[in-house]
C-alpha cells in the first residue's frame, strides 16, 4: 500500500499543473495549429482544408515581415549576448560578496512595467526630447536626425528589454565554473585568452544557448517595441499577428503565422535538449 502510494506520488503531485497546462497551454496551441489549416471567417464558420497552403501562403505573403523579424531578433540577441556576457562574467568572478546586490540592480527594470520601459525610451529618444533636442539646438546633430522610427530604435528597445534575461542564465553558468580548472590552465602556461576560450567559454555554453533561445524567441515575436519605437518600415511578425486578430479578424492567418513562430521555437528547443539535456533547460530559464 505504502509502496503503491510512493509510486503514484509524482503523478498525483503533477496532476493539477498538467491539467491546467493541458487545458490552457497545450490544447489551445494544438487547436491553433488546427485553425491554421482552416479556411473561412468568423461569421460563416470554418471548414478544415486538407493542405498546408494556407500556412505556406501566410509565410510567403508576409515573408518580408518574417525576414525582418528574424533579422531584428538575431541582431538584438547577438548584441544582448555581447553586452551581457562581460557583465555576468564580472559579477560572477569579481563582485565578491556583493554579487546578489549587483544582480538585484540588473533586475530593477523588472519592477517597471514593460510598456512603461518602452515608453520611457520613446521619450528619451524622441526627435525634440531632452536628449536630441539640445544636441540639435547646438548644431551637433543635423535637424533631420532621428533615432525613433528607425530599425535601430527597435533593435535598441529589444536589447534593453532582454538584457537582464540574458545576464541571469549566463551568471548561473559562470558562477558554477570550478576556478581550479582555470588555475590549472594557468599553471600549464595558458595565456588568459586561451584559458578563456578553451575553458570558460565551453563551460558557459549551456547558458549562452539557453539565453539565446529565450531572448531570440521573445524578440522575434515582439510587437510592442516595433509599434512604439519603430515606424511603418519596421513592421514585425508580431504586428501582423496582432493586426490579423484585431483589425482584419483573419484568424486563420494569425493562427498560421503563430504556428510558424511556434514551430521555429519547438525546433530550437529540441536541438537544445539534444545538446544539453532537459534538466539544464529549466535551470537556466529562471
Amino acid at each position: 500500500m505504502r509502496q503503491a502510494r510512493g509510486f503514484l506520488a509524482p503523478y498525483l503531485l503533477s496532476l493539477p499543473s498538467w491539467v491546467y497546462l493541458l487545458a490552457f497551454f497545450l490544447i489551445p496551441l494544438a487547436s491553433m495549429l488546427g485553425m491554421a489549416l482552416a479556411v473561412g471567417d468568423p461569421i460563416s464558420g470554418y471548414t478544415m482544408s486538407d493542405n498546408y497552403q494556407e500556412v505556406i501562403g501566410a509565410f510567403t505573403g508576409y515573408e518580408s515581415s518574417f525576414v525582418r523579424s528574424f533579422w531584428y531578433g538575431t541582431a538584438s540577441t547577438v548584441i544582448t549576448l555581447a553586452i551581457s556576457y562581460p557583465v555576468a562574467y564580472w559579477i560572477a568572478f569579481y563582485a565578491g560578496r556583493h554579487k546578489s546586490t549587483y544582480l538585484f540592480i540588473i533586475m530593477l527594470p523588472f519592477f517597471v512595467s514593460f510598456v512603461i520601459r518602452v515608453l520611457a525610451w520613446e521619450f528619451i529618444l524622441s526627435d525634440q526630447g531632452f536628449l536630441l533636442g539640445p544636441l540639435k539646438a547646438l548644431g551637433v546633430l543635423p535637424e533631420s536626425f532621428r533615432i525613433l522610427s528607425t530599425k535601430w530604435a527597435v533593435i535598441g528597445g529589444l536589447v534593453y528589454n532582454s538584457f537582464a534575461y540574458y545576464v541571469l542564465p549566463l551568471y548561473v553558468v559562470l558562477e558554477k565554473i570550478d576556478r581550479r580548472l582555470v588555475r590549472a590552465a594557468n599553471d600549464l602556461y595558458a595565456a588568459p585568452a586561451t584559458a578563456f576560450i578553451k575553458i570558460i567559454l565551453p563551460l558557459s555554453a549551456p547558458g549562452i544557448f539557453a539565453g539565446f533561445l529565450l531572448v531570440f524567441v521573445t524578440n522575434v515575436g515582439d510587437y510592442v517595441n516595433a509599434a512604439l519605437l519603430g515606424g511603418p518600415g519596421t513592421y514585425m511578425v508580431g504586428n501582423v499577428i496582432q493586426d490579423a486578430f484585431f483589425q482584419s479578424q483573419d484568424y486563420p492567418l494569425a493562427a498560421s503565422l503563430s504556428s510558424i513562430l511556434m514551430l521555429m521555437l519547438m525546433i530550437a528547443i529540441l536541438l537544445y535538449s539534444k545538446a544539453f539535456g532537459t534538466d539544464a533547460i529549466q535551470e537556466y530559464a529562471a
Binding site: P10, S17, F24, M32, V87, I105, S113, P192, V224, I269
Partner: protein, 275 residues
C-alpha cells in the same frame, strides 16, 4: 600581498587593467539599465501642461502626485492589474508547488515531457500564447474579461513558479522529511511541518516573480482582455493621444513598492539562512 599576486598570477586576475575595464563596462551597463527608470521617476515630478507629459523639463511640481488617482479609468485599470497579479500569483504557487516537489524529488514516466512543456511555456512567444488562448475562449464562447485575463496569467506564470520553487526544493536535505517519516509522520503531516516551512521562501519568491510578470504583461493580456483594461493596456492605448503624468506617478509607486518588498523578502531570507 602584491608580490604574491605578481608571482602567482591566477587566470582569474588576468590583469588589473582587464578587471578595471570590465568593472567600468558593468557600471556603464548599470547606468544604461537605470536610465529609463530615472527618467520615469524624474519626469513624474515635471509640470505637465494640458495634463500630458512634456518631452522637456518644465519645472518641479508635486501636483502630479496630488492627482495620482485623478483619472478614474487609469486607477480602475491599475486595480484590475493588482487583482489579477495577486490572484494569478497565488493560484500559480498552489498549482506549481506540487509539481515542483514531483520534479525535484521523483523520477517518473513523463518527467522529460514535463520539463519540455515547462520550458516551452516559459519560452513561447507572447503573441502565440495570447493568440491561442483567444482562439480557445472564442471557441468556448467564454466572455473576455477579468476571468479570462486571470486564466491566461496563470497559464504563463505557472511555469515560472514551478522553476523557482523546484530550485528551492532541490536545495533541501532529504534527510529532514525522511526523519519525519521514520518518526511516523504521514507524508501530509511531514509536508506541512517539515517541508513547507523550509520551501516557503521559494514559494514567496515565486509569488513575487509571478506578481511582477503579471502586472507587467501587455501582449498576452491584449488578446484575452476584451473590453477590460489593465494598467499596461490603458497605457498602451493612451500612447496615441498622449500620456498623462499619472502614468509615471503610478509606475513609480509600483516600482518603489516592488523594490521595498523584494528587499524585505531577501532580508528575511538572509536572516533565516544565517540563523
Amino acid at each position: 600581498m602584491s608580490t604574491i599576486t605578481a608571482r602567482m598570477p591566477s587566470a582569474h586576475k588576468p590583469s588589473r587593467l582587464g578587471e578595471r575595464i570590465l568593472a567600468c563596462f558593468t557600471w556603464a551597463m548599470i547606468i544604461y539599465t537605470m536610465l529609463p527608470i530615472v527618467v520615469m521617476v524624474v519626469f513624474s515630478f515635471n509640470f505637465a501642461p494640458g495634463g500630458r507629459i512634456a518631452l522637456n523639463w518644465q519645472h518641479f511640481t508635486l501636483a502630479n502626485y496630488g492627482d495620482a488617482f485623478a483619472i478614474q479609468d487609469l486607477t480602475g485599470a491599475l486595480q484590475h492589474s493588482l487583482e489579477v497579479a495577486i490572484g494569478s500569483a497565488l493560484i500559480s504557487a498552489i498549482l506549481g508547488t506540487p509539481l515542483a516537489l514531483a520534479l525535484a524529488r521523483h523520477k517518473f514516466w513523463g518527467k522529460t515531457a514535463t520539463d519540455i512543456v515547462i520550458f516551452a511555456d516559459i519560452a513561447a512567444p507572447a503573441v502565440v500564447v495570447g493568440a491561442s488562448l483567444l482562439s480557445l475562449f472564442l471557441a468556448l464562447n467564454l466572455p473576455r474579461g477579468l476571468l479570462t485575463i486571470l486564466i491566461a496569467h496563470v497559464a504563463f506564470n505557472l511555469a515560472f513558479a514551478v522553476v523557482v520553487i523546484r530550485a528551492r526544493v532541490s536545495g533541501l536535505d532529504r534527510a529532514l522529511d525522511r526523519a519525519a517519516a521514520d518518526l511516523g509522520a504521514t507524508p501530509w503531516v511531514a509536508f506541512w511541518t517539515v517541508t513547507f516551512p523550509l520551501i516557503l521562501p521559494g514559494i514567496v519568491g515565486a509569488c513575487m516573480l509571478c506578481f511582477m510578470l503579471s502586472i507587467d504583461d501587455l501582449i498576452i493580456t491584449t488578446f484575452v482582455a476584451g473590453q477590460t483594461l489593465t494598467f499596461p493596456l490603458w497605457v498602451y492605448g493612451a500612447v496615441k493621444v498622449g500620456i498623462p503624468p499619472q502614468v509615471f506617478v503610478l509606475s513609480t509607486f509600483i516600482f518603489a513598492g516592488g523594490v521595498v518588498l523584494a528587499v524585505i523578502n531577501s532580508a528575511i531570507a538572509h536572516r533565516k539562512s544565517a540563523a
